[in-house]
Symmetry: C2
Subunit: 194 residues, 2 copies
Amino acid sequence: MRYSDTHKDETRKKVVRAAAAAVRSKGPEGVGVAEIMAAAGLTHGGFYAHFPSKEALIVAAIDEAFGSSARRFARLTDGASRREALATFVDTYVTMRHRDHPEGGCPVATLSSDLPRQGLAVREAYERGLKSLVRRVAGWLPEATPDPDSVAASLVAEMAGSVLIARAISDDAEADRLLADARHRIKHRMGILT
Amino acid sequence: MRYSDTHKDETRKKVVRAAAAAVRSKGPEGVGVAEIMAAAGLTHGGFYAHFPSKEALIVAAIDEAFGSSARRFARLTDGASRREALATFVDTYVTMRHRDHPEGGCPVATLSSDLPRQGLAVREAYERGLKSLVRRVAGWLPEATPDPDSVAASLVAEMAGSVLIARAISDDAEADRLLADARHRIKHRMGILT
DNA sequence: GCCTTTATATGATGATGATCATATTAGACG
DNA sequence: CGTCTAATATGATCATCATCATATAAAGGC
């Protein structure tokens, strides 16, 4: 083995991470293979040594995007109570920071409308990620919550929807107000505030 | 004037309507000028006699998409009370029909994630449409509602978010259940049910 | 230090699509 | 009915981009 065992894998990871950011900020159709490779510090030539197609990269990028979000929230909510975890989630998700940084944000709030137009493999990756997100949120709901998956899906819908709408609003102060209202409303609804 | 006064205008309208559908089902980057012209029964050649650029068409298409949704709901809710109008809106918006037909649906649930990547003119058209939608919904809220625009924005966020998530769910029965839950939850929250 | 292999780079290729230049046609008006 | 022009069609052009073919370079073992 002429290169170290891990060399190619590390390169691949770099490419996937670059793709995960690019795909969220520019959409699956909006990024080019060459651009992603450049972002990873490479040229476009070696691409097909790592992935059979652009679509395969998009799939990996979506998995990575959901995965890194999941890891980040796991870190943030480590050791917290259900209620605290939920509050942290809302306070991190429904924010100007998230509005202004799609490249590192939740794929649900970034790729949702692109999805129906993608190939099966991409949609499956997205659905996988979405379901695991909903299940995670459901796990933070009070134990007595009836039908927690449904409540969680509804929460995710409102949070993602709020961020999407905030992204469409050009006035920062107005977007900020909208998000603050949404946070308050969502937490109230979850019984975190009363 | 060799053609009737209205001929060119009518053609333009046909093109815009075709674009309004195409843009919602395939996204602004996903449709081609030639494809839209063909859908309107023309070839791509005459396009630039009608629009200075593809972007100008997208702007017109977004205006048309928001406009036609608005007209449809105006018709549906004509003469209804506020409460009835709101219920009708929810019952029409948060449905499988809407999930399965983005081409005729609400642009918020179809173009949201494409938007940040579009040019200024497109984003302005979208913002215009979104705000008028929110204002319309706000007008249906009970008179006593404090901060109706904020409540309306939140409702739109949850409704659009629910449809987006339902679109990501491949299993029809599951999506249907999610939407039914969302409808119930939203109406409950609005005080329409109790 | 050299050789071999694996990883990456350089440089096609072919397709697609926005835009534009030129040709053709439709139809109002005389 | 023929003419003339607005409206549309046909057919470039140029750029972008996924994909692939071939060339170069890096580095572990000798």
